[in-house]
Symmetry: C2
Subunit: 208 residues, 2 copies
DNA sequence: GGAGTTACGCTACGACCCGTAGCGAAAGCG
DNA sequence: CGCTTTCGCTACGGGTCGTAGCGTAACTCC
């Protein structure tokens, strides 16, 4: 992740296995203890490394949890299901499944809360997690345009704003449904969400 | 809030001024320190009360912050602006203004994160904060139906599902925009959001 | 193979916060 | 005035934090 290491060819290299063990231990601790009761000492013990090793690689609890949670979103992808609605439903269900895991719930929201007072942390969240999802929105948009389901980008600025809006609405809705309303983002709910969204987009295209 | 006190007529009554001072001190500490660095000892000092007084009234940091943040949402209301779109824009802008305050940002998301592992805390959040907003959605819906902008509830179960969906989409979008995307939920953005939503609802009404 | 460099495990440390207990004083009520 | 509850204060053991220091391990370059 923080591979800004131009040519550190000398000395003992850092153990990649330790990285993986630490991140896995962090997720395990998130499941068992939650954010507030998670301690770096405990994570170090679980991972089988010394506490000092942990502090050499991460600045603190926030950064560690961001990286640990970010790995969960690596599996997100956007298979072509033939229509805009089907594409949205597919990726939203994937996102909901990830967010339903306890380590994602407690970890992600906690670091987002902390990021309100830490710009560097927010940037880390954005590059490690958020942008990866936003890329899917852009892909889905281009696909829908090629299918003729959405109009082309005659105004690039407007298109970017629209993509940001859709992203905030979809991701925000899933998060709110899962964490605040505490009800499952299942297929029926996702279908309703998608229907409302696609109808809105179609209406916007027609009105403009 | 926790006024489950049938008839405590005897003994020295609890100071209502202390309650207010503690909650105000909590919000002040949230602004200056954020969630993770907020300590109950510090809040007690700010409020001018003893630490033990704090523990007599709240079980812990989570419950205290929920009550402190909940007061911020008391000012939410839904003035009649003449149309569904205008009503939505008005209440969303209010919600966004509250959520833009630092004590709301850091406090609310932190307790939501903690609530993933604490059912009692989630219930407290729901009754103190969420349900108060949801009531506005219901009111706006009824108003729009009276104006003829939305169809009546021929299926009550479907209507409830729809209200839940709208609530999750709107509240989630504002939260995501403010906290994750870290961009202002200003009038232009709210207008785009409302437009998409109203078009989607109109399309759903037409399609059904 | 030796020298240099970096990572690692381990221990120890002061600082801080937690949550509770005990005490005497204060503020209500009958 | 007695009774009851709250309040401020002090003190406490227990836990976590983040860092420093040390000897050892791993790897590279000469």
């Amino acid at each position: 992740m923080q591979s800004r290491r131009p040519a550190a060819r000398t000395g003992r290299p850092r153990s990649a296995a330790a990285d993986a063990a630490i991140l896995a231990a962090t997720r395990e601790a998130l499941v068992e203890l939650g954010w507030s009761k998670l301690t770096l000492s405990d994570v170090a013990t679980r991972a089988g490394v010394a506490k000092t090793t942990l502090y050499r690689r991460w600045a603190g609890k926030n950064e560690l949890v961001v990286d640990a949670v970010a790995e969960l979103f690596d599996e997100l992808e956007l298979p072509d299901r033939g229509s805009l609605a089907a594409d949205i439903e597919g990726v939203v269900l994937q996102f909901a499944a990830i967010l339903d895991r306890p380590e994602a719930k407690s970890g992600l929201m906690a670091v987002v809360a902390e990021s309100t007072r830490d710009d560097a942390l927010r940037a880390r969240i954005r590059t490690s997690i958020v942008d990866r999802q936003k890329r899917l929105v852009m892909e889905g948009r281009v696909r829908a345009q090629k299918r003729g389901e959405l109009p082309g980008d005659n105004d690039p600025a407007q298109a970017a704003r629209s993509a940001d809006l859709i992203f905030d609405m979809v991701a925000g809705a899933v998060v709110h449904r899962t964490l605040v309303s505490a009800r499952p983002a299942d297929e029926a709910w996702v279908r309703d969400l998608t229907r409302l969204l696609v109808l809105g987009l179609a209406g916007a295209a027609r009105a403009s």
